[in-house]
């Protein structure tokens, strides 16, 4: 077994792991960055559309361009050891076990661990869509991989279930490749992804978005021959003659490794419960990026990963002051909040990230703390597909008491 010793081990070399490695490396820590694919960059490598980096760099980059900025940087830092094509299989205490074809079995003993494994797509099986089980049913991300990396077209007549961002982006991608996209079906009464994707990927390409629609049947024993769609308002069923069904019905943080070491998960995010440093309930184990909460924008993944790296540095340098704990809880109309737990003292400006349960307009953000009500801000629109980022006021934080955040507004 090949053994490594390091200050910080980072599991996952996508945008989260890259940013965490760079920040930790710049701050002087020895880092081992572990990636299961043969190259760094994660899912960004197959996201060849633009729209990345607007918030962080002020320009629109493609996924590979965004990744490249970080990959170039990470290779310039001598204190970062990169292990590619390496799969981590087990963690016990702070020792990580994995394999790769170069070293065989490896172990990495680290003072701190940053979890940045990302997420996976929900599948047809998880939805339990009835019907036959033919070829031609793909998650949107798998289809994206086939087209953008392998150069292979999954099909010619396509329908997409779910209006997540990848689904809408793939609707446009299929049209650009000459396929016919019959529409995007969304079970809810509002789109799942970003408004900009509804406009730029669907409306600009005349791809219909059917809200309140789902798929209730799959036809074809060998290759997909059609689907049965249902209008959930008037309960009418109709057939769509397609050879390809794409699913964009949600992303699930990949926390199987986290569970192995006893990391507590928040059922609302399916990611770990963390502090403002992105530290989990296991001391010295941090989490950032989509393994923690499914983000809309990679820019925020990068920012969150910087926080995790700084937290890990603080942890290994034993500079941490240990004070009390305040909980941040979602109240009315709030689906989840990250971080869920604040450790005192709070030394830096503190932002919380949350999503509404359903779309609201003329929306007030309200905090409850110690029986007092605080007005924390307002927003014209609040949509589940768009994360809200809020700086928490110092007077609330100074109280040291648990905080509940809720939204009040007009339902759309």
């Amino acid at each position: 077994m090949k053994r490594f010793n390091t200050d910080i081990a980072i599991i996952g070399g996508g945008p989260a792991g890259l940013a965490a490695a760079i920040r930790a490396g710049e701050l002087g820590a020895n880092v081992v960055l572990i990636e299961r694919d043969f190259e760094l960059g994660g899912i960004l490598n197959q996201c060849i559309h633009p729209g990345f980096g607007l918030s962080l760099f002020g320009i629109e980059l493609t996924g590979p361009e965004y990744a490249e900025r970080f990959i170039e940087k990470v290779y310039t830092l001598n204190n970062i050891k990169i292990l590619l094509s390496t799969m981590i299989i087990d963690i016990q205490d702070k020792i990580i076990y994995g394999v790769n074809k170069y070293d065989g079995v490896i172990s990495i003993k680290a003072k701190a661990i940053i979890l940045s494994m990302g997420c996976r797509e929900r599948t047809r099986g998880a939805l339990g869509i009835p019907g036959e089980r033919p070829a031609g049913i793909y998650t949107a991300g798998s289809a994206q991989r086939l087209i953008n990396i392998e150069g292979l077209m999954p099909g010619e007549r396509v329908v997409i279930l779910g209006s997540g961002d990848i689904g809408m982006i793939m609707a446009r991608r299929f049209v650009l490749e000459g396929a016919e996209v019959l529409g995007v079906l969304e079970k809810l009464s509002y789109p799942g992804g970003l408004t900009r994707n509804v406009v730029q990927c669907l409306e600009d390409f005349n791809i219909p978005l059917y809200l309140n629609h789902t798929i209730t049947g799959i036809k074809g024993k060998y290759r997909l021959e059609g689907v049965v769609a249902e209008d959930l308002i008037n309960k009418k069923k109709f057939s769509l003659d397609v050879d390809t069904l794409l699913l964009s019905v949600g992303l699930i943080p990949e926390n199987e490794l986290s569970r192995k070491i006893g990391v507590m998960l928040d059922p609302r995010t399916s990611g770990p419960v963390v502090t403002q440093d992105r530290e989990t309930n296991i001391s010295g184990v941090f989490a950032c990026g989509n393994v923690l909460q499914v983000h809309d924008l990679v820019d925020e993944v990068t920012r969150e990963s910087y926080m995790a790296a700084e937290g890990a540095i603080k942890y290994i340098s034993s500079e941490r002051k240990v004070g009390g704990i305040m909980d941040v809880r979602p109240g009315e109309n709030v689906r989840y909040i990250v971080p869920q737990r604040l450790t005192l003292p709070i030394e830096k400006p503190l932002y919380v990230y949350f999503r509404p349960l359903e779309p609201l307009t003329d929306c007030q953000i309200i905090g409850e703390c110690n029986g007092k009500i605080y007005s924390l801000g307002k927003t014209e629109y609040a949509r589940p597909g768009e994360m809200i980022k809020l700086r928490l006021r110092k007077d609330i934080l100074d109280s040291g008491s648990d905080i509940k955040i809720k939204l009040e507004g007009e339902k759309v």
């Binding site: 299989i89 074809k101 019907g131 089980r133 031609g136 086939l146 490749e177 060998y222």
Partner: protein, 478 residues
Amino acid sequence: MDKELDIVIIGGGIIGTAIARELSKYELDIALIEKESDVGWGTTKANSAIVHTGYDPKPGSLMAKLNVEGARSFPSISEELDVPYKKIGSLVLTPNNEGFKRLEELKERGKINGVTNLEIITQSRLIDMEPNLSEDIKGALWVKDTAITSPVELAIAFRENAEKNGVKFIFDTSVIGFEIEEGRVMAVKTDKSIIGAEWIINAAGIFSDEIARLAGDDAFTITPVKGEYALFDKEVGNLVNHIIFPLPTESTKGILVLPTVDGNLLVGPNEHITTKEDTEVIQEGLEEVLNFAKREYPCLPLNMIITVFAGLRAKALDRGDFVIEPSQSVKNLINVGGIQSPGLSSAPSIAKYVIEILKDKGVKLSPKSSFVPERKSIPRFSHLSWEEREALIKKDPTYGELICRCEYVTLGEVIEAIRRGATTLDGIKFRVKAGSGRCQGGFCGPRLIPLLSQLLEIPPEEITKKGRNSKLVVGETR
């Protein structure tokens, strides 16, 4: 016409492959014809994967005899062929005190059939053994020797061993008729060729009655009976420790909750008569299965389902038993039909029974001195210790390259699966589990298509999920 064969087996399910392997012990020229691209793709791939002990079939029936004999030979055959077999025991539950009478009857039936290790237990003991079970359950018949296995892996093992011992397997080939002279089959007509043979063994599962009819024999009829299943994530595979049965009815053992040999949780099947091509899961059926299981296991985590599927039982309803007999109307045809549950448990003894029929018919069976009984499975990375992994990667670095993240399947295993005959994504999945986990091939699928294309030397648009027209891609991008 091809060279005259001694025996043609029609159907590559668990029964056809078991017979092929058993016959490969003798000096015979044998071919097995299968309409799909691989073995085990009919009933074999969609059932509960249980080796029943044989307490349940009607005493005196062929089913009772072959089940008990088959179950007894499973441990040795699984070892010989390196196939999973786990004796975890089963529990037949009763929800009320009246049910104990039924359990006594089952136990008694078991005794008559020659099954030992049966015990009736009451609630307190039961809850110790199955802590997640509903408190409404009053007691159970504990069948200590019931086991779980992997039926497709067994069919694959039978095939590999039979092939090694000289049996020829012909895939993607459908039997469309027979050349018959004076009440004898002279040759089997397929959609690709005509194959001459001395003896025909009809092990065509759901379609065995139709194959018999093609030869002019209408002695039995198969009724396809659909069963729907839900498979759960390994994270909840330990919800149950035993195979959980409800009280059986005359026609079915009921909806079960059980762990699989791979550590998943399996729930099903229901029972609905249908048509021969219908393996569609319907919403109502799925709800029926899940609602039933929820009564026994109220904590059943429905959000951990990774896939749903349906299989067909080949029931000869008019016979109420297996149909394993020489045809009355065709001199050299042996029908092996109506192999419903406990067909898997009986597969080894059904194969031996067929040999006896051939002997009775005067077929000369000289043992093959070169017969090799053992078969080794593909090394499965996820099952190995760290030391074994280290040694394997050193020998072949492709075993250090993970291609399926959910089930920890390596490139080395996939290459070996293809070398041993996998030609499709499902063929790989059934051999080494790549694509069978929680992401259902979302990650490995797009990587396996180019790999299959490269190793089989065919274009990507010819690669299929499960043969025929199940093509995965239509061509290259612009």
